[in-house]
Subunit: 210 residues, 2 copies
Amino acid sequence: MIISIVGGTGNLGKGLAVRLALAGYKVVVGSRMVEKAEEKAKEYSKLCGCKIEGLSNDKAIDICDVAILTIPWKSALDFVKNYRDSLSKKIVISPIVPMVKEGEFVYKPLNGSMAESIAKILGNKVVSAFQNIPAKRFSNLNETPEFDVIVCGDNEEAKAVVMEIVNSIERLRALDGGPLSNSRIVESLTPFLINLASRNGLKELGVKFV
Amino acid sequence: MIISIVGGTGNLGKGLAVRLALAGYKVVVGSRMVEKAEEKAKEYSKLCGCKIEGLSNDKAIDICDVAILTIPWKSALDFVKNYRDSLSKKIVISPIVPMVKEGEFVYKPLNGSMAESIAKILGNKVVSAFQNIPAKRFSNLNETPEFDVIVCGDNEEAKAVVMEIVNSIERLRALDGGPLSNSRIVESLTPFLINLASRNGLKELGVKFV
């Protein structure tokens, strides 16, 4: 199975690329600029001691079975519209959280949740996951985080595939979060976690259900 | 400091009464029926090996410095209106979550959150906490849960008192959740946790930020 991390040059993309490659998946890093994708793929390959490929976003999407959209929320819907034809054939994972800083971080949902907005464009193989992962810590392989990942989606087969992908990563546990409409509460947890950490003088926080 | 657990005859009330008494607080259990309060106080006293008093809700409220309202959400606002004069002088903790079962559990906020609705009646010494505690497990002293408790409130002094109370309980950690308006997201987590547990075949869940 090929997993493409689309726009995968930031912290979450790095963590996912390296940890999924370590789990045995064939991983592709996509970027608007192929040079950047190649450069990052080289860096990530070195980190995990395995072969991660760097491609343009177009090619990364075409080649993959599962696309993880690690792209900024502001451009997410335009991006998804641009790649509607190719993305709608794939299982698409949205870790995207629309939020703005107004003193603290505030969740700014679009039509219920970002995941649902994307599903309106791409159809029902959209699954949400990874929104609450503290990206910087996750990108650091020396960190051994133990986080829960809530997976929401309306297509049970696609959701099962995504839960398997999550569980393949060491110390992550996938939990079935129910229908895609539940993404709203999962997405809203992210600004809440950021505010909680800064208000209480804690490092970047993830969540664990105990 | 006297802490009254108002309507404290259920699982959350039991867990709080016993664990706060063990932490050294003078604890009173309140109930509509004084006989029930006395019976439960006796039971709880035996569990912790210390003296917990049982009183009518009226007296439990009058005597206390801090009142924890472990009452059903449906009658909560009527209750608070009835005891407005005495409760408005106290620090009041709301662990109350308005929710209904519609297939899964669904959060039914009133005016933003239950905590804010109560504060509209009682003023700004209302603090929300303990909403996400799995009550049955918490009432079992053989359980050694390690949970985070998010504390929200608009009166910083009252919030500091409540955080100290939370932290006095072994293996609970108080986190400053910001203003009372943030209670909405904390309250909404409770039905989400219940659904998550049942959907994934897990025991009653609490939350820990890691």
